[in-house]
Symmetry: C3
Subunit: 325 residues, 3 copies
């Protein structure tokens, strides 16, 4: 991470990094290591600016359309905060399915209309590929905020940025992913993104919720050491990052099977006594019991800071695609 970029990129002028300016953010796989270094360096600067002065006018006069075809208050609010803290403003569109813009109108037409009002578009849509379709229609930058079973690249970026900010580096770490690794979109994207760094990954899950074999193969092909186990204790003492996800009851065919495993993957204050002193617990939120509330006061509990880091990553992406970082 080149913090030397700081003076080059900020403050307050036109910067047009051709890797980002005017581009779309659709998938984690569009980035190489150098791209991530840039994004994270800018996000780190954003953190510093927000901590010092709260808000600044880097994107004053820019209008962002926040187009949500399905509700996601967390992600939507994060983008609103991001553009507002940069001095820009937002056109918020919720529940598009009930609105006239969708009355039989094609997604490209909706996008072409909205880009005539705004400088960039964030889109959340239940269908895979919809963000790419929107980007193809738009001349202005489109940011994918989740396209159903497809990608949610800003989530993966914020997860990686959280690791960086908490640990000071992404290299040399052991990352343990816990819970539902079969259906969890966030762990899939994060595992792919981590192949750009020098990490070891442990997968801890019940047998029926294991990481998909194709993904393990893909990550392995990139040279990453991986270990699969149902036993958290086997890997916890060496874990630098514990990434917890929710296990949903509905995934199980019978309730007994669910009841059997659910408790073994609940992180408690007692669990934390067996973890390293320097480590961080992450969770994409919302949580529903898989991390006990008593853990919140542990300095290693990073999941609420993770939300804040998400805002900095989105500030960085907006500034980069709009040519101001």
């Amino acid at each position: 991470m080149t913090t030397a970029r700081t003076t080059e990129h900020l403050p307050f002028g036109e910067k047009r990094d051709p890797r980002f300016f005017g581009r779309d953010i659709l998938s984690v796989s569009q980035f190489d290591r150098s791209d991530l270094d840039t994004i994270f360096a800018v996000a780190h600067e954003m953190r510093g600016m927000v901590e010092r002065i709260g808000t600044f006018d880097l994107l004053k006069g820019k209008v962002l359309t926040n187009l949500f075809y399905e509700p996601s208050t967390r992600t939507s609010s994060s983008f609103v905060a991001a553009i507002e803290r940069l001095g820009g403003s937002v056109i918020q569109i919720n529940n598009v399915t009930y609105s006239s813009v969708s009355k039989g109108e094609s997604l490209p037409d909706t996008i072409k209309t909205l880009e005539s009002y705004s400088d960039a578009i964030v889109i959340r849509h239940p269908e895979k590929g919809s963000a790419a379709e929107a980007a193809a229609a738009a001349a202005k930058p489109v940011i994918n905020a989740g396209d159903g079973p497809g990608e949610h690249p800003t989530q993966a970026l914020l997860d990686a940025f959280t690791i960086l900010e908490e640990m000071g580096t992404l290299d040399g770490l052991t990352v343990t992913m816990l819970g539902d690794l079969k259906y969890g979109r966030t762990v899939h994207s994060l595992a792919k993104l981590l192949t750009l760094f020098d990490v070891k990954i442990n997968y801890v899950s019940p047998e029926i919720l294991k990481m998909p074999a194709e993904l393990v193969a893909e990550v392995g092909a990139a040279g990453i050491t991986q270990l699969e186990t149902p036993d958290l204790d086997a890997v916890l003492p060496n874990t630098d990052i514990l990434y917890v996800t929710r296990i949903q009851k509905e995934r199980f065919e019978n309730v007994d099977e669910y009841d059997q495993v659910k408790d073994s993957y609940v992180i408690t204050a007692e669990t934390m006594t067996r973890a390293k002193e320097q480590m961080a617990v992450l969770h994409p939120l919302p949580r529903v019991g898989e991390i006990a509330r008593e853990v919140d006061d542990d300095p290693r509990a990073a999941y609420f800071r993770q939300m804040e880091y998400g805002m900095y990553v989105r500030m960085a992406l907006l500034a980069l695609v709009l040519g101001r970082a």
Copy 2:
């Protein structure tokens, strides 16, 4: 009311009154007379500023989350206008129950997420105690915008501020509360708040909608002279403030009883001929017939100005808790 505060508190710098800075606004009972003097003095300054220049950048760069678990367009819009007229911006969250932020997530988790994006949180929630629960979870200021049958402190404050602005003082006045005094949350809070001033209070209602005895006892214990009567005419000629509330048909066991009383509590132009020349009619709105529209043009009809005063009170509270007044 010390208008000398004006120069001390405004304009445009950091002010950190320890009674307000970083604090939550949860209940009217948290304030003493001196707190109210401060709030009303700042609100009065806000009024002057808005009347002269409309908007100013006292809270530029501040982001307010406006979190409404149940709809309340009036209150929500008032807070939006308040933060925008101070140069800040807003994350508006409506209908949280339908959104992902609430999918089984606890209120403290939602609050901790949202405070990572913003500088203060306004919350409206149907459950009593929810605002206090939110405040306990948040490090940043939380303002209660109504927690069901609990409190709605900014309403009581705006009611009292309306009296002050309309009459020039809160002391020495006779306040008459009219209508449904049993279930009306606004009159309960206002009565409590008025115990901090030198007032007389009349309660005019049908027998079955009388002020709760505990509350009358509490107000009396504070040394306030009170009078209960079903007859408006008995007290109208000496009334300085007539606070009208709606009588809801559903409160009555039989319709005849309702039909009998409803008309006796409708304020008309004719009613106003029997009122003082210098007095003010207040109503928390919405009204549905209990004040005839012909009264709107009477200069003593203060209920729409009351809405405007509400914005000034909310501007004052935001400036105070964020350390700028």
Copy 3:
């Protein structure tokens, strides 16, 4: 169009054109030719400013209430973008019918409350006459953004402004309206507005969707040459503006009749080969098949630019009624 106005009206000071300042925008019929010249001149300046600098603080400090009783994302977003690009801010109110502001409250009361927070109100309401009722209640400017079967004046103004920007003039043109001319509110308003200019109008539609006879009479009485035909090819070669509208299946009594006509009014790349080289295709959007997507790349396809022009017209109207243009 007097571009000499430019220096007189902008930039950045109080201008109080008595034809607009503090006035309501309720109907196209309130404007004469000179009014339109002013609106379009200011809208043209807005276009130039946005193209050069994106956003500017002409209405900094102004708060607009955007009150939508029925969804219209396109129109609502356009007004949001308009006020934000002028440095102002917005109170957005959607789905009022579900909100407390409407709980039995009369429209005038809602308006009086909202104007106490804001500097102007945009209203969209399903009932004819509602915008006028709102305007009568409000002391501040009210802009009609569609009152059901009534008027939608900003749509007609943006249609006319699109013609002006695309062709350089509104005079001497032949305008062909195509599709459902019986129920289409936009073509009715546009035809009325065009009587202020020196144009010829062709109406191309199936027999059962012809322009209402009263409207043809009214437009004719203003001295406009009109021609009705079911055959697009008869008029296309001489058409300067082709205004396409959607034919809705539900308008037809039997499906055969619908299937018969629908294809003859679909604009394709092939259709465009028979059109003038200098002409423009307009559509109020959303379209559902009546213009093939292959036409989008034709430089004469002006319907997405039309959306953008809509934002400039709304910026102009806001600046004019708020005394800044």
